[in-house]
Assembly symmetry: C2
Homo-oligomer: 350 residues x 2
């Protein structure tokens, strides 16, 4: 039997947001790509949430995101809302809170009901209003019956970092920095899984996707914390575990998480237990992780609490000089290493 | 029996680049979207090749393109080359010849051979070198077996119009303007169709896709013609017929084409006859149509002829005050109205 990944074929885990995906991207799609662009910009080789280019006296950020969620409608959102928020949030994680606009590429299967596309479009429009942006350009492709399961979208976005600020990276944590999360963990992934498997884990309002545009929340955090907000990432595929593992590895620090501080809704915890999944490995679509210098973390936390999307924000951990690249969970009874998911746990979750 | 398009389901022709697609886009994806953006920019509602935004003293253009070609490898190119050229050419058609970079979203079917993706990636890198640009950001998604036929890509691009110039539109033709095409017509579509149906129409080198990045060619045309180059469009899906019909409709002019002037390779003509297809309706991926004020058309034509990708450029028609929105073919024996294709002629051609 061949080892996992050695059979020369693409596997679901190559899209799962964890180590297999990062290995595919760095050995193939980003091979030879520069980390730094002329003028100090951020290139594909940096494998950050997007690229940053100097334009005049400002930083322009450019990001893209594909959306293949199954089912396309789920409690709390749909693939259209996801397409807008995914691109807007990637911009926001680089500090680009002034969204210039989005592109949207729609790929449809022949025979798909137009009524579904109407609902998705209405959702795109509503999410754009929330994010105070708009779709600027698009493309439509139709594939024959059986060539595509329903509908997939891809979006890209461009936006500016506010004048006088620099882009925010994911590789600049240092020991002592504190880790904040903007709210409850695991909501999106468990809402989609529950809908897919028709799980009942309490009332539906308890198991809803958190999909939301974070540019406003991030602007509030940056306004409060300034340059003390040194790193950001949205914990989508692969969840908080993958996002923090990536930040820890790139920054050369360890990250110690306090389990008791981790906000998880009871229904999400119940669904996770039913499916044998760690909430840390579950996708979020409306949450941000912040790495903040300790002297400003109270101010940033207060700014998050004052925002509608940050009411449940928490300080969940801190960076260590030891255990570089590792994520360690303090359970209250002891410490254990958190592993990233690297399997076919949740295909087509976003 | 329901009328075509009245059954509330997406059909292949909704992605064919003709009237059905334009109707779907304007009634759904672009409904309510402004044609003009604040500051005089070009918005989604203009349904041009991309959007244009004022950034400082320059115009930034943003475009996107989906790529679903079947088969993914064809004589003269592959889906990777298509993804780079599609986005670069949409920028170029707006006058943005200074390409800042591309985004690339890759969607793969589980089980797809990695070796194919390696070949596609090598082709992306080569096309980027030709276009003097690079991929700046990306995303990778994997769908389960049977959820997607192989591989689809979507790209977006950002670029600047050269300082002091304005974006080039597709709606500003006026009677007397001349229409130039940068080379032979129908090469891409017929190469893909021949490969798909294993047609033999002469040596393979005669039936090759023209897929190529046009930013260099367009820069040469704009340098020669300046503001006399009043309109551009690349005749992709729907071919020259759809591109010129759209330009004629938006500009409120008629366009008279001279059939004898239309450059068509003998092998392409033979394949078209075999399949009963009009070369005017066949997709191109490395050709541009220019609308030029008559006093500068010789200069622009000379500039095209001097470029590797413009050796077979021709003056193929001119704009009329009458027959607004129509494309008329002068066959040498008489005149006839050219209809756009609006069927399932060539699904997944790009």
């Amino acid at each position: 039997m061949s080892r996992r990944g050695d059979d020369g074929r693409i596997a679901l885990r190559h899209g799962a947001g964890g180590p297999a995906m990062r290995a595919l991207v760095s050995s193939l799609f980003a091979r030879g790509a520069p980390r730094e662009l002329p003028g100090g910009g951020i290139g594909l080789g940096a494998l950050d949430d997007g690229a940053a280019l100097r334009v005049g006296d400002r930083w322009l950020v450019f990001t893209t995101d594909g959306h293949v969620v199954d089912p396309p409608f789920f409690p709390g959102g749909d693939i259209g809302r996801l397409a807008v928020c995914g691109a807007v949030n990637d911009l926001a994680m680089m500090g680009a809170t002034e969204v210039l606009g989005l592109s949207l590429c729609v790929m449809l299967e022949e025979g798909h009901p137009r009524e579904q596309i109407e609902r998705i479009q209405a959702s795109i429009e509503a999410a754009c209003r929330e994010a105070e942006t708009r779709v600027l350009c698009g493309d439509t492709k139709v594939l024959g019956r059986g060539d595509l399961d329903g509908v997939v979208l891809s979006s890209a976005a461009i936006g500016f970092v506010r004048k006088g600020r620099a882009p925010v990276r994911d590789c600049t944590l240092r020991p002592g920095d504190e880790i904040l999360v903007s709210g409850t963990v695991g909501d999106h992934g468990m809402a989609v899984m529950a809908r897919r498997h028709e799980l009942a884990c309490g009332p539906e309002e308890e198991l809803r996707s958190d999909v939301a545009p974070l540019n406003g929340l991030v602007e509030a955090a940056l306004a409060a914390g300034g340059e003390s907000v040194v790193a950001m990432k949205d914990p989508t595929r692969g969840g908080v575990a993958s996002a923090l593992a990536e930040m820890a590895t790139k920054s050369g620090v360890g990250i110690l998480l306090e389990e008791e501080q981790l906000p998880v809704r009871p229904a999400v915890r119940a669904a996770c237990e039913l499916l044998g999944v760690d909430p840390l490995q579950v996708a979020n679509e409306g949450k941000a992780l912040f790495g903040v210098r300790p002297e400003q973390s109270d101010a940033v936390l207060a700014a998050l609490h004052a925002h509608t999307l940050g009411k449940h924000a928490r300080r969940i951990g801190r960076c260590l000089a030891e255990h570089a690249g590792s994520l360690i969970l303090d359970t209250g009874f002891g410490r254990r290493l958190v592993q990233e998911a690297d399997g076919e746990l949740l295909p087509r979750i976003c």
